[in-house]
């Protein structure tokens, strides 16, 4: 007698549909022995067991299966009850790629090659302190600033590197002041920001005054507790750690708590010490750590530091570190791992974090560009490091070249095209492709191939392991899923 229809009226298929459901574009990759990860074209994922996956693909999955309902809601299939999938997927894909057109946001200025540290893993061919021939000149700086400001990106970040950039403080001041002034004259001024990558060993009050006045952020190196850090990063006096710590405290006092962040490099000596390294970051008041492997460039290659450990060893280091950090969060400490957070943003949102090494199309040129002390322009930091080793494949040109000449460089365009992950045979049907990236510089350096044979690639090996690890951890515990959601949304 009720005027209301039961849910079965709404769940039964209309009589005129022939197929029960249609598959929307998706890919799947094995997660472990008993599960697959499937991703739709917007990078949203679902974990399925093999029987469910096979039934799904074979058009035999019943509409009453809970997996069916989720697959429909998450746009893996389309049926008579909703045809919104393609439109919503299109919006999500467009959102993911939206910021691509902003073009280069990170502009790195190598102010000098001079440095008073002698870190064996350094990717730069540093020069000793007194050689001013290795400083960036005013003319080069002006040309580089002009190029940086001509990028269509509304947000321009200028990063100072070296050697030790504060050894060429005059040039840093000149660039900050000039860029800021020229910016105000643009018809649409950029949101301009500055950061200096420094070992903090030579920083003084005048420099800090300047950083305060012009809002220059500080990025420094902290490899871990004192002994590890000093062993990794020798300088005369063997006091790199002490200087770094006191530098951090000083910068925080003058600039603000969140104006300094730290990066670490993993050496063979670091491998057994991941908890100690994290504890060091905790006690120095950092909100997180970026666990990253050694890059195969520069002195790292020369001194064989790069080959001192393999991908497996590093992944163990990483997993132990991430699990320790998760445990810290369980105890109420808000501390995050930034590489995971970057990947989680790509997994759990449609916002592109713009991390150069995990972009497809590749982040070279598009994401970052580097103006070397001698006026040469490279498509990325790693591209410059490759050049230090004698391989100038990714040199775009010089600061005397026009914007057009630099970005229509043949090799650059070819590298973008050939490394495009979606067009690489293994990546093309990998479930993790939406979360991953192309790294033509790495693959060129390792395999002399922009796209690379991914089954031989440590880039692929490393990332696949991490993707699977993040998915597994989220599946096993709601606490971790919520934690990772917060990391993905940067809150």
């Amino acid at each position: 007698m009720s005027k209301f229809r039961p849910i079965t009226f709404y769940s039964s298929q209309p009589a005129d549909t022939s197929a029960q459901y249609q598959l929307l574009p998706f890919r799947f990759t094995q997660l472990d022995d008993s599960r697959y990860v499937a991703t739709n074209i917007a990078g949203e994922h679902i974990v399925l067991d093999p029987p469910t996956l096979h039934a799904f693909v074979g058009h035999k999955l019943p509409a009453t299966d809970p997996a069916y309902i989720t697959l429909r809601a998450r746009h893996f299939l389309s049926d008579a009850h909703s045809r919104m999938g393609p439109d919503l997927l299109a919006i999500k894909v467009r959102t993911r790629y939206d910021k691509l057109a902003y073009w280069t946001g990170l502009h790195i200025f190598v102010l000098t090659l001079r440095c008073e540290h002698s870190c064996p893993y350094c990717q730069v061919s540093r020069q000793s302190e007194d050689k001013e021939a290795f400083d960036m000149s005013k003319q080069h700086a002006e040309r580089a600033i002009a190029l940086a400001l001509s990028s269509p990106n509304p947000n321009i970040k200028i990063e100072f590197q070296g050697g030790e950039p504060f050894l060429n403080f005059d040039m840093m001041k000149f660039i900050v002041e000039t860029a800021s002034t020229w910016n105000t004259k643009l018809s649409r001024p950029k949101n301009l920001s500055f950061v200096a990558a420094t070992n903090l060993a030579v920083i003084n009050e005048e420099m800090l005054d300047f950083c305060v006045a012009y809002n220059v952020d500080i990025s420094t190196s902290l490899d871990g507790p004192k002994d590890l850090h000093n062993k990794n990063r020798p300088r005369s006096g063997m006091d790199s750690y002490e200087r770094t710590i006191s530098g951090i405290k000083h910068v925080r006092q003058r600039l603000g708590r969140n104006k300094v962040n730290a990066l670490m490099t993993t050496t063979l000596a670091s491998l057994p010490l991941v908890k100690e390294i994290i504890d060091e970051y905790l006690s120095q008041g950092f909100n997180g750590i970026f666990l990253r492997p050694l890059s195969p460039y520069g002195f790292a290659i020369k001194t064989k530091f790069f080959r001192a450990y393999n991908a497996q060893q590093w992944l163990k280091f990483y997993d132990d570190g991430l699990d320790y950090i998760i445990e810290l969060n369980r105890q109420g400490v808000d501390f995050r791992e930034y590489y995971a957070a970057t990947i989680l943003a790509k997994m759990l949102t449609c916002q592109d974090p713009g991390y150069v090494d995990l972009m497809s199309p590749a982040g070279i040129g598009l994401g970052a560009v580097i103006y070397n002390y001698d006026g040469t322009v490279y498509a990325s930091d790693e591209a410059r490091m490759l050049a230090e080793m004698g391989d100038t494949t990714f040199k775009l040109g010089t600061v005397e070249d026009t914007f057009e000449k630099l970005f229509t460089n043949d090799t650059f365009l070819t590298a973008l095209e050939e490394s495009f992950a979606y067009s690489s045979p293994q990546c093309n049907d990998c479930a993790f492709e939406p979360w991953c990236g192309a790294d033509p510089v790495f693959h060129w350096g390792q395999q002399q191939d922009f796209s690379g044979r991914k089954w031989e690639s440590e880039f692929c090996q490393r990332n696949m392991h991490i993707f699977k690890g993040l998915v597994s951890r989220m599946e096993s515990e709601p606490f971790v899923k919520n934690l990772f959601m917060r990391w993905a949304n940067r809150c």
């Binding site: 790629y97 691509l100 057109a101 902003y102 073009w103 269509p152 199309p361 598009l366 914007f403 057009e404 970005f407 229509t408 043949d410 365009l413 070819t414 973008l416 095209e417 495009f420 979606y422 067009s423 690489s424 045979p425 093309n428 002399q448 191939d449 796209s451 044979r453």
Partner: protein
């Protein structure tokens, strides 16, 4: 007599270009003679290794590389539309797009 090995690839499954590219990658370890045997519908490759070490591994690697290059061609062709669209979008605000709407470095 220089050692030589003969590899044959089915011309219906592999393009000459893919075979050439694969050989080119190994030109540091061998030199090659590539012939299309149209009557047999095969592509014949004579491999002249530069050293006698690890010849079996070299042959395996070349075969694997030919398959890889062939896959690359197929996938690249299939995904050209999507790739061009996304690259064009990336370049869309740089002022470097041609009138035909393709990103720089490409022609219709």
């Amino acid at each position: 007599m220089v050692a030589q090995f003969i590899l044959e690839f089915d011309a219906k499954s592999y393009s000459v270009l893919a075979v050439q590219k694969a050989c080119h990658r190994y030109s540091g370890q061998a030199s090659f003679e590539i012939t299309q045997r149209l009557e047999l519908s095969t592509i014949q490759v004579i491999v002249f290794p530069r050293t006698t070490k690890n010849e079996d591994a070299l042959m395996q690697n070349i075969r694997t590389e030919v398959l890889d290059q062939q896959m690359r061609e197929v996938v690249r062709a299939e995904t050209a539309g999507v790739r061009n669209l996304i690259l064009a979008h990336a370049f869309s605000r740089t002022g470097l797009i041609h009138e035909d709407g393709l990103p720089p470095g490409k022609s219709a």
